[in-house]
């Protein structure tokens, strides 16, 4: 996984709540068997509309998405995270993320930042007023800074360390091989097995 320490870039204000993963990347894109090439599928239906905020020339090249509450609801598709990253987003800000989406994003080094809705509204106003505003998402200081706005955010310390160092979860777990084997040795015999019967 790519490490994340701090990032500064222009932002897109997405004034929508309940942006589900079917909107982020529609199902027909899920037929791909790779982790890349999803950028054109990102918000595909909405992007057909020239006025959609992502299509606005002033937001071209933006790398921070500032969205309404309950971002990433619905399906477990990690493709939603890949699509955001393939498009160029490094961080997403919202008042609330769906759990699986959040887990997926942190596994891929896409930083999901939870800020109060009131702060999100201030960011929206600021970015809409001046689309060249640079937003800094600083994981070291756990802080978002943009114009006169400075907002602290929380992130579980363990997840933060993994992001900062870009650690591979599987490697970490495999160091626990002896513990896993010990657990397996004490699993009850009545537990189900998939071997064909």
């Amino acid at each position: 996984m790519e490490a994340f320490t701090t990032h500064t870039g222009r932002a897109v204000p997405l004034r929508r709540s309940n942006v589900d993963t079917d909107q982020i990347i529609p199902a027909h894109w899920l037929k791909k068997v790779t982790r890349d090439g999803f950028e054109d599928g990102l918000f595909e239906a909405w992007r057909k509309d020239a006025e959609f905020v992502l299509n606005r020339p002033e937001h071209a090249g933006a790398t921070v998405l500032v969205a309404g509450p309950d971002f990433g609801t619905g399906s477990s598709r990690e493709h939603a995270v890949w699509a955001l990253q393939n498009y160029g987003f490094k961080a997403v800000v919202s008042a609330r993320f769906a759990d699986i989406f959040r887990g997926n994003s942190l596994k891929n080094g896409l930083l999901t930042v939870v800020l109060p809705q009131e702060t999100v509204e201030r960011l929206w106003t600021l970015i809409e007023h001046d689309p060249t505003t640079e937003v800094t998402v600083d994981l070291l200081a756990r802080q978002v800074r943009a114009g006169s706005i400075t907002a602290d955010f929380d992130l579980d310390e363990n997840a933060r360390q993994r992001l900062l160092e870009g650690l591979d979860d599987i490697d970490l777990t495999l160091r626990r091989e002896a513990d896993i084997a010990a657990y397996e040795a004490r699993r009850p015999s009545f537990k189900p097995a998939t071997a064909q019967v």
């Binding site: 027909h28 037929k31 990690e78 997926n104």
Partner: protein, 473 residues
Amino acid sequence: MGRTLAEKVWDDHVVTRAEGEPDLLYIDLHLLHEVTSPQAFDGLRKSGRKVRRLDLTLATEDHNTPTLDIDKPIADPVSRVQLETLRANCAEFGVRLHPLGDVEQGVVHVVGPQLGLTQPGTTVVCGDSHTSTHGAFGALAFGIGTSQVEHVLATQTLPMAPFKTMAVTVQGELPAGVTAKDLILAVIARIGTGGGQGHVIEYRGPAIEKLSMEARMTVCNMSIEAGARAGMIAPDETTFAYLKDRPHAPRGADWDAAVAYWRTLRTDDDAVFDREVVIDASELSPFVTWGTNPGQGAPLSAAVPDPASYTDPSERQAAERALEYMGLTVGQPLRDIRVDTVFVGSCTNGRIEDLRAAAEVLRGRSVAEGVRMLVVPGSVRVALQAMAEGLDKVFTESGAEWRHAGCSMCLGMNPDQLAPGERSASTSNRNFEGRQGKGGRTHLVSPQVAAATAVLGHLASPADLITDPALAA
């Protein structure tokens, strides 16, 4: 202090626990399908890893599979590649797979329970958010992303931060004609699509205890639509009776040991939930959605709500957008909404009881002129059972199409899709924009409401058929 059901199952699966770290949880059953697994197998290959426990892993094909002409090559080349990739991966790594055409093929969340693999007190994961379905057995079952699929394949464990717990207690009794689907849609409308975020919901109370296993699966299935990580129901005699003698259920002394353990899987009387919601079942009636998220629902007898009635600005905006997308007007009675398509199927309502319920309503009646009705069994086993009971005939005689098992129009990855602007009454679980096809409009309903809607051509419940003397069978 006592523990909740979820906490008991969690504790029994902790491999390692350390301050400041997520618990490492052991996974008893890992289900795979073609959509969320290819990149995970790729990851294994790149790092030279194997699947740690092939005997706890099972794959099915469901999302891309066609429901017509299944013996012909799959027309869509991209779908075909995805299925072929799963087949190649399962062959290379040695994973048991039920491909299209196999008697055990079907939607992953229908197949696990019917094989008896989903058992109380187990941890079940799948790269699919509706893994919550399996919680109906008192399993801790949750959807994971592809990186986690790879993690489980390689280690049979997952690092997980603990969930919070929520009780949804359903008092009283469901009135006649009100189903598990109506109940869960009403719960989601009450707590909202983010209401369960971070929580495992335990459904309990007299109305839940009365539900069949299939109805319990319908309820737990949609926990994710309330934002919850998982839904659970304490196992009881209904659960044990369902599991007894299933192909992978324990036998002999193992059965007795298992049941003895399963009986301990109840929330202690002095356990405390982080959040509690109480619902009175007797107040419920058939429930349908009018919007573009599963929380935007109302009783069938209601009218399309006025967005202005929402105090929360983002909810108001979402309602405005939804009405525009859905092509509905404020105050329009929900019963007046005409549909083009009716879909009965999915991991929410594609089991045998659901097909029986829909067939019961259709028996001796016809699907309305201009309405297309698709009946897609959740698995081949469900299809065979339905055919043994003659349900397929009931469907075809009424003018509905009887299809092959799979996810089908639940998400339209195969050719079963809505055309732009088309409107469906669907027994599936998501009414998101474009979910069933680009520009398609979805109303989530129970199988009974789906069938009555097919007959009348507008959203309706079976009671509407009886009050209409011309249609009474």
